[in-house]
């Protein structure tokens, strides 16, 4: 059953297809790209039917040995955490391709970059082998670099390099971490492998770190920093304003998925693999998250450029996600995981709309706008809805995610995991969100029209409305029926939580899903039971 491989590599095949077409046939190139992305989305929908939310095991999985000498295997699988991210990726890729039909130079390369990005992101969400993950993780760099560098704004060169070098600098140390993890596994079991299922099995039984406890925090941070850079979290965020401000509009849309690779990685690797180091690092991580929330919001309020506002607002929003994840409470992690999706949707629709404005006016600076509500009422309404979801108004998806994430954080603080003050501040971030969002809305839409060019602005066309409308549907769906999305996650989240907080021997492990299911009903686990777990190849 090669479903996941198909999903992952369909876009790459699409790239090959594109290069069979002549550069001159821009129109057909665009259509091909669109078809490919839509096809990928449809195929990815099949996963929904195959997926069984009742278990946290990796499903639909494929496991083939790849580089046997180095213990690298081609292991794909999907669980509650990655399920929605995969669908989000394929879905938003369609949007990204569809919204860049107006590109006119080097179209083939452009579409190729989009599709390559899609493949890479899908791969990193699906891969269960550390090295495989890293490979896909890094494969996103070059296409994004090209997107910014060729089709970007005036300061593109600098922004592109900054993006690539910054993220590369983060991840190269993760590579060191990955390798040392594999080496530890080798030392523990005598068998070299980077398969997280097997590694986590050792972790669960407390064997892996048994004689490397002092190394654990360092390896943990090697992972964490790489992923925090991608997320981005507070001190590592400075690449994102330049990137958003300079890249073509499809860039931020896809990078609003790409940043999820960071939080996803934290959920998938940093929590289950470093349970002993985790508790001591949580306060620092939460502090970073909260600083990110407030700091991002404050800086977003005074940016002169809509896209920069969006950049800092993602810093703020991802802060909520991180807070939820690192609260290490079911509610919080569920909220965090859900907030990932919400941010994906919300940020995308905002970028989409800003993009439409950019296509019409060629600028996104506030000083060039004001009072355009009169010209573009529909646009204004859609923007308003997206904005409300982004500032977490109840009834929109943003509220559910933030509410749960913060509640989880509060619980953790109430249990003295970290200072209560952090949460009090974090909640205030919601107020600040209102500040910068409303201020942006006011500066763009309210008042009299000052610029002559804006007098002639046309409202959205049918297709544009449709494109944005689909996303709006999800805003309310997520807001009014969040269980649709949270139910399938719940088991995986619970498992991840147990993996990262339980004592050695009491930690569940992916390979022992059914044993754990059994344990749930039977008496509480004894260490012996955990130790006796059969190691599956």
């Amino acid at each position: 059953m090669y479903l996941l491989s198909v999903i992952t590599f369909l876009p790459l095949l699409g790239v090959l297809g594109l290069f069979l077409l002549p550069e001159s046939k821009a129109k057909s190139v665009k259509q091909t790209a669109l078809v490919v992305s839509v096809l990928t989305f449809l195929v990815s929908l099949l996963v929904l039917f195959k997926f069984d939310g009742g278990s946290y095991a990796f499903q639909v999985s494929e496991n083939h040995p790849w580089i046997t000498q180095l213990g690298i295997s081609y292991h794909l699988g999907i669980d509650g955490i990655s399920l929605w991210l995969v669908l989000l990726t394929t879905f938003l890729s369609v949007i990204a391709v569809a919204c860049s039909m107006k590109v006119d130079n080097r179209v083939r390369a452009f579409m190729a970059c989009l599709l390559m990005l899609e493949s890479a992101m899908l791969g990193s969400f699906l891969s269960l082998d550390l090295v495989l993950f890293f490979i896909f993780f890094e494969m996103t760099l070059l296409p994004m670099w090209l997107l910014i560098n060729i089709w970007g704004g005036p300061n593109k060169g600098h922004a592109a390099n900054k993006f690539l070098i910054y993220t590369f600098a983060g991840s190269i140390f993760m590579l060191v971490g990955i390798i040392s993890l594999g080496y530890l596994q080798f030392k523990t079991t005598g068998k070299l492998t980077f398969d997280i299922v097997l590694i986590q099995e050792q972790v669960a039984q407390g064997k892996l770190w048994a004689n490397a406890l002092q190394a654990e925090p360092f390896i943990f941070w090697a992972f964490a920093i790489a992923l925090l850079v991608k997320t981005p979290a507070f001190p590592f965020h400075t690449w994102i304003p330049d990137t958003y401000a300079e890249s073509p509009i499809a860039g931020p849309i896809l990078s609003s998925v790409m940043v999820k690779m960071g939080t996803y990685g934290l959920l998938r690797f940093c929590l289950p693999l470093f349970p002993d180091a985790l508790p001591h690092q949580i306060p620092y991580l939460v502090t970073l998250a909260v600083i990110g929330i407030v700091y991002g919001a404050i800086l977003a309020a005074i940016q002169p450029d809509m896209r920069r506002v969006m950049a800092y607002s993602s810093l703020s929003h991802m802060g909520f996600v991180l807070l939820g994840i690192f609260s290490l409470t079911k509610i919080g992690m569920l909220g965090g995981a859900f907030q990932q999706l919400n941010h994906g949707i919300t940020a995308t629709i905002l970028f989409l709309l800003i993009g439409y404005l950019y296509q019409r006016r060629g600028t996104t600076l506030f000083k060039d706008f004001g009072g355009i509500k009169a010209q573009m009422p529909i646009f204004a309404t859609l923007f308003l809805i997206a904005m409300l979801s982004s500032l977490g108004l109840p009834g929109t998806n943003g509220f559910v995610g933030e509410f749960l994430a913060l509640l989880g954080g509060f619980q953790a603080a109430y249990a003295n995991q970290f200072s209560m003050g952090l949460i009090v501040v974090a909640v205030f971030g919601v107020v600040l969100a209102a500040v910068y969002m409303l201020y942006m809305f006011q500066r763009v839409f309210y008042g009299k029209i000052t610029q002559e060019e804006n007098k002639g602005l046309l409202d959205l066309t049918g297709t544009e409305i449709a494109l944005a409308g689909i996303l709006v549907v999800f805003i309310f769906w997520g807001g009014l029926a969040p269980n649709t999305f949270m139910r399938p996650m719940e088991n995986s989240i619970n498992a991840t939580l147990k993996m990262s907080t339980a004592a050695p021997g009491f930690r569940p492990s992916w390979s022992e899903e059914y044993a754990v299911e059994a344990k749930k009903h039977s008496a509480p686990t004894t260490p012996r039971l955990a130790m006796n777990m059969r190691i599956q190849p």
Binding site: W66, I67, T68, Q69, L70, R106, V131, F134, I135, E138, M139, L141, L142, W145, L146, N149, I150, G157, N161, L164, I165, F168, A169, I172, F173, L175, V176, I179, S180, Y183
Partner: protein, 487 residues
Amino acid sequence: MDKAFHFAIPSIEWAALLPILIVALTGIVTFVVEMFRPKNDNNLIVGISIGGLIVAGFALFMQMEQPSYATAGDLMQRDAFGTAMQWILILGSALTILFSESYLREKRIPFGEFYPLVLWSTVGAMIMATTTSLLMIFLGLEILSVSLYVMAGMSRSEEKSEESALKYFLLGAFASGFLLYGIAFVYGATGSLDLDFVGAIWSHRTEATKPMMLIGLAMMLIGLGFKSSLVPFHQWTPDVYQGSPTNVTAFMATVSKVGAFAALYRVLTAFALMGEYWIPVLTVVAILTMFVGNFAALVQKDVKRILGYSSVANAGYVLIALLAHAKDYRLGNNTIIYFLLSYTLMTAGAFAIVSLVAKNGKEGTRLEDLNGMWRRSPFAAVALLVCMASLIGIPPTAGFVGKFLIFFDALRTDQMLLAIVLALNSVISVYYYLAIARAAFVTDSQESETRMVKMTPGLASVCTICVAGIFGIALFYSPVATFFAAK
């Protein structure tokens, strides 16, 4: 043996010797052909050379399954490492020859003698790679170098070319002087030119021999470090790389470097026993090499110069693997072979594409001279992008796997410091590799036609081989590794 010095004719395993002989003879044949052919049409010569190299490559299969042994009076050592190295060397010179013709023609220096020289100097490298005798290492080194001196000065109308030739020659001779002196001391201590004795002698060393061997090693390190451009013996590298004709530079960067590292590998393996003395030194050298190479490359404007410094940096990376090998003899072999192979592919490809910029006897190798390549010859631009990605180490390219292996070896031999330095340096290196990629693939320029030639079949084939190789040996690492690790 009744009387002294009545040595018997040594037995010679032709299977082991064959590849070297074939290459050498191909050189002679091409030389002869060159004499009797009309000028300005070297395609036949190119054909013969490539053919010869391919045959030599196949000849290597004959020794695939053989065990390790020494032949030709113990002056020639056949083992898996040597075989692998010969393959890489043959690949390197084949790639060089493939794209040379069009380049030399554009540059108006279509010497037919170029090809025999390339082949012979490949022979030199092959000799270095397949011996444990210091004599043969020295000879091979000289065969390699002398022909390189000539080729470096091949473009005689260019002051830069001549200058680079003289620099290379004088410094090279200087360095080989040290190498020889070192060999002399090792010979004095061990009474033999064969590295196999080193270990034995060291294990019962005397007050007299101990310093002789150490200092001898230090001197040999200068000779070999010069060839493989380790700091502080690297300074010729950027200058010579920039001055010499691009195809010669490619040859230097691939064949001569691989040969030098093969020799270094032999020597350090032999001296592994006294690692406690020299491993710290080489660790420092490795760190310096990486940092100097990368930092200096940051501020360069000339593509060939950038690649020169990058080859300095890469020497540092390989040195890590060598150190790992010296610490634990089971490690490092694969890494060195794989890294050098990938490095050959990337570098040869890069220089081949840079050679596009030569037209009508003029050649500009500044970054901005690459602008608009994506318009003039898109495939070359893409190939360059791939090569750069691989040099950076972005997966799924050979460069990534190579770095991965080095990290792995470094960590398995507890050389955390080197691992971290390597990580830092790969970050630094990103900047200038991207600069090249950007110049070729991103920046546009209307008059690129005046500067650049279009793709030629030879060049196209080089690009294809390199791109295919860069992805191939990464995605199919297992078969490749098993192939090279074979006896």
